[in-house]
Symmetry: C2
Subunit: 249 residues, 2 copies
Amino acid sequence: MTTDPFPKEAAARVSIGSGSITVGGMCKGSGMIEPMMATMLGFVTTDAAVPQTLLERALREVVEETFNAITVDGECSTNDCVMILANGSSGVTIDDASYSTFADALRAVCLPLAIGIVRGGEGATKLVTVNVTGAATTAEARRCAKAIANSPLVKTAIHGGDPNWGRLIAVAGRAGVAFELDRAEVTIGPIVLFKDGRPYDEAAPEAANYLKNEELTVGVSLGAGSASSTVWTCDLSAEYVKINAEYRT
Amino acid sequence: MTTDPFPKEAAARVSIGSGSITVGGMCKGSGMIEPMMATMLGFVTTDAAVPQTLLERALREVVEETFNAITVDGECSTNDCVMILANGSSGVTIDDASYSTFADALRAVCLPLAIGIVRGGEGATKLVTVNVTGAATTAEARRCAKAIANSPLVKTAIHGGDPNWGRLIAVAGRAGVAFELDRAEVTIGPIVLFKDGRPYDEAAPEAANYLKNEELTVGVSLGAGSASSTVWTCDLSAEYVKINAEYRT
């Protein structure tokens, strides 16, 4: 029996050569223990035999796109950690040829765990996927996506269901990344709200309707290149403030 | 007649040689106009005659310690600006010898304006001075002070009156600055809550009482050097979320 409304367990099974391996994982997330610092613990296991260098490479690669691509409130704890254990009991050994299959299985486990942490974020009512495209570099795409995902004005606009493209553009403008307003684009779900240097306010009612969903996507194209990054976050609610203002040490 | 509960006007008059000059300023602050992006506009005037190079130097120096040392919600607008106009009508010309007197007068005008913006921050109920000391460099002191001032967990703890030294230490730990826990110190007002690598929980009730003030100071010494920085911020309230979630484009 679980009392967690957002269970964070995942598993993947893939065939490699004549055998198959399993990757399983579980994690705990934000605001569930003292000192409520969004302390994140992730544990992943596999029955594959994986040389340490490949295992470390796979975990680093996958964590960058999963656990390191989420934010509830920007409050990374100094003791956030993800661990992987591989015991080889499947009889299958991962090598360079099967590396990408293994990494894909690992990603298939880590991503829903990471997203589960965001779903269970303190006071969260919506899961928000932030896609930044058209960036000069991947690092800039990530920096901009994180800035959007941590922006209190973006998070409160989404909480209030307001298709406020101005707040998205403003964060892109202050994120310290290459950004060409004339080529920039803002989308909420499939709906274009800003393009060709001008707002499409006629689409606002449709976007407001889309924002009633509990899972939604916002997109900003920076118009400065072809790199992209995706980050997952949640909205900012009065409940978040209540939880953290009323919590006592 | 003003309807602004936090009027943001200031003036300073100083003697220089046989004459005297006046510096005056006014600004507008956070959340007072559409699109509610904490757009900040500051205007400063003086009747001193100031060579452009000295005027620019003074404004840059002073802005760094005043307008650039405040944060309500980390949402700097791309069009924040401060302008200074000098018309020389006092008959006094500023030179290298009188530069520091002029810069001090400018600082005396800009600091209350900047602090006024924080007092009028959306949903703010408290003015918080964040002092970071013991840093390896001034830049690291500033980075840590800004991280503390923008931390939702610190801002909600202060809103709730909770002397939560752990949240302050945790931000210092994640701020990306040199930080020696064994030599670190956390103070709330004059009250030491963490020192010599251990909490002083016996001081918590006194600190909780201090946090009832509407103007308060928190301090973190990083134990890593002798540089320092001061930043001004406000608490994070449910009212902030309400204002920004209910505001519609």
